[in-house]
Amino acid sequence: MSAARGGSAMRLRGLLRKEFLQIVRDPSSIAIAFLMPVFLLALFGYGVSLDAEDVPIALVQDAPSRDGADFLASLRGTPSFAPRDAASMAEAERLLREGTVSGIVRVPADFPRRLREASGAPVQVVVSGVDANTARLVQGYVEGAWGNWLAARAARQGQEAATPVDLQPRTWFNGELRSRNYLVPGLVAIIMTLIGALLTALVMAREWERGTMEALMVTPASMTEVLLGKLGAYFVLGTGGMLLSVAMAVWLFEVPLRGSFWVLWACSSLFLLAALGMGLTISTLARSQFVAGQVAIIATFLPAFLLSGFIFDIGAMPPVVQAITHVVVARYFVAIVQTLFLAGDVWAVIVPNAAALAIMAAAFLAITWRKSRKRLD
């Protein structure tokens, strides 16, 4: 019995050695595991941001007045806007249509007169609604400047601002609302999904296609050992890539890591098993590298990008789509990393998501194992 187990350990070592030799021989796997996370994370970490600064807007005064200039001055001082003056509304509309500016703030000619009337003076704000999110931000920034102007004006006249309810927002976990703080941990999850699947999506299909799987079958190594050999080798590579990504997130992009590193390590390992398992499953079911490659392109990137909660809030999706997101591996890991990085070790978030990762990893590996046992056909 012990001799058999010793034999198994020896066979496994041999298989691992074979996998590593194959990896070293075709450097594209090493490139996938180490260069790709560095390259993608550097590019996206800097490139992906939802914080709009210096939004170009056009300012229009139909008739120059001191009150009008005073109001527009409140928009000039902020880092949110890069304002430019337009001579007329027609010119401002042309700029908006061309996309040179994202919004227009127009002070009508009767602004000073109506400022003293009970109904108040209207100020027109026009935004381009094509990018609805940026449009909302612009509206919010203008509202903020408007509120400040009202308060300053009231103070100058010795009154208190007439706001009945004064809203005081407190943002937890991400005080400055820096979008990079949540996008970078999510990017780590997405990039590692791709890498896990890319590493393994073709390996089983390649063995089948080239006939080397049949050669492996006649050796004493069992199918379980073959699979363990593959999983072990790529797991080591993937862990390396994961460590690199986390290091970049913390030191290059200065995302605070408030949770424990070891919890992150454990969850990452579970996630890697699931991602590698998904690749192995694709590879095993497809049996041809061409189809496996096609499936990997379709099934990994876009679902991880759009359905993981990386950028689009899962809670805002319709229930049917929310149900579909449960089969996306990245979803669970995105929830874990966003919480681990920004909030800390919140077990109520981590435990269920980690359990889901474990279940998915087990399911993928079980499918691979079952389907691989079938002998020659």
């Binding site: 796997s29 908006l96 400022l115 026009v126 094509v130 609302l177 096609q294 759009l306």
Partner: protein, 369 residues
């Protein structure tokens, strides 16, 4: 010559469609993905889960909090008894925001002082936090206006009149669905082209192809046409679904749409074939496809505006064909653009297409193993 190319095109289509798994992969996922992603891709929130903490328990505070219960924007998940209950709820993501009304709320409000109301927001997803905060703010703003009107208080001396062009209700879905049309088209071209040459290389049939009378340019044409045809068909289908199912307006000219699509396919197919002809194995082809597709999507301005990127990254986006196609799509769908308004986006795609196609054709001949 055309007979030869036609024969090659026929062979390529057979290679793509003969395998039932491969056939399935080409037809079903794009439609399913459009439906799923179309619903998933939005920054608008529905039924934001909130909790309220009323330390005042006055008629005024109840009136304010009732405003959050009305409508479908918010769902009141819990009414808290003390401030200590806030942290566990927010930490666990049970609620996105907590509205906290302090004990002197009614006193302040009735005596004309600004009455502070605290709102605690989960900032883990800063964009969601900002959108939710906007909803809270407009609810409070409505309450303020109602309060002023019922007490005969003076309105603020100036007010903002907001209007949004092209998308009056600021539905972010209108922004994303044209983008999804572009993304799925890119994925399809990658599917069809990125692995074809690599597969023939790996199996050795590419050498056979090179010794036939076909010239490299003809091989290129034969390899490119299936991607082109499938791309046009799928994009048309997806565009129709985007309009009929999701009700995204299509205001511009069809000619501008197809001109943009054709040039985008040219550059996408060119990039795919270039990747494919650079790779010796399908594994490398797949890697190349991802290395092109993932940055092309993330830096295209699909979800995060290009204007927010640093200068250096903005320069990189000029090489991204999807960047131009997305602008064309949004202008044609939402702004009602004709040919003239998208012309400045068309030529860069033509340049990218010409460069990648000629490189791929050159590599056919000069990269041998």
């Amino acid at each position: 010559m055309w007979r030869r190319i036609l024969a090659l095109v026929r062979k390529e289509f057979l290679a793509l469609l003969k395998d039932p798994k491969s056939r399935l992969v080409l037809v079903v996922p794009p439609l399913v993905q459009l439906l799923v992603f179309g619903y998933a891709a939005t920054f608008d929130l529905r039924q934001v889960p909130i909790a309220v903490l009323d330390e005042d328990r006055s008629a005024a505070s109840r009136e304010l909090l009732a405003a959050f219960g009305a409508g479908t924007t918010f769902v009141k998940v819990a009414e808290l008894g003390s401030a200590a209950e806030i942290a566990p709820l927010v930490d666990r993501r049970r609620v996105l925001a907590v509205i906290r009304v302090g004990p002197r709320f009614a006193d302040d409000l009735l005596s004309g002082r600004p009455a502070p109301v605290q709102v605690v927001i989960d900032g883990r997803n800063s964009n969601t936090a900002m959108v939710a905060l906007g909803y809270v703010r407009s609810t409070v703003e409505r309450f303020n206006a109602g309060w002023r009107a019922s007490r005969g208080l003076a309105a603020p001396p100036a007010r903002l009149e907001m209007r949004a062009w092209f998308n009056p209700n600021l539905e972010s879905r209108w922004f994303f669905i044209p983008g999804i049309v572009g993304m799925l088209t890119l994925v399809v071209t990658m599917l069809v082209t990125a692995l074809t040459v690599a597969r023939e290389r790996e199996q050795g049939t590419f050498d056979q192809l090179l010794v036939t009378p076909l010239r490299p340019g003809e091989i290129l044409l034969g390899k490119a046409l299936p991607g082109f045809v499938i791309g046009i068909l799928q994009a048309t289908l997806i565009m129709v679904v985007a309009r009929a199912w999701f009700g995204v307006p299509f205001l511009g000219s069809l000619a501008a749409f197809y001109a943009g699509l054709a040039l985008f396919l040219l550059s996408g197919v060119g990039a795919g074939l270039l990747i494919s002809s650079l790779s010796a194995t399908q594994q490398q082809g797949l890697l190349g496809a991802f290395l092109f597709m993932v940055p092309a999507v993330i830096l295209s301005g699909f979800a995060t505006p290009i204007a927010n990127m640093p200068e250096a990254v903005q320069l990189v986006t000029y090489a991204d064909p999807l960047r131009y196609f997305l602008i064309v799509l949004r202008r044609v769908f939402l702004e009602g653009a004709g040919f003239a308004l998208v012309a400045d986006q068309l030529w860069p795609m033509a340049v990218i297409g010409a460069v990648t196609m000629s490189l791929a054709s050159w590599l056919f001949r000069h990269r041998m193993y």
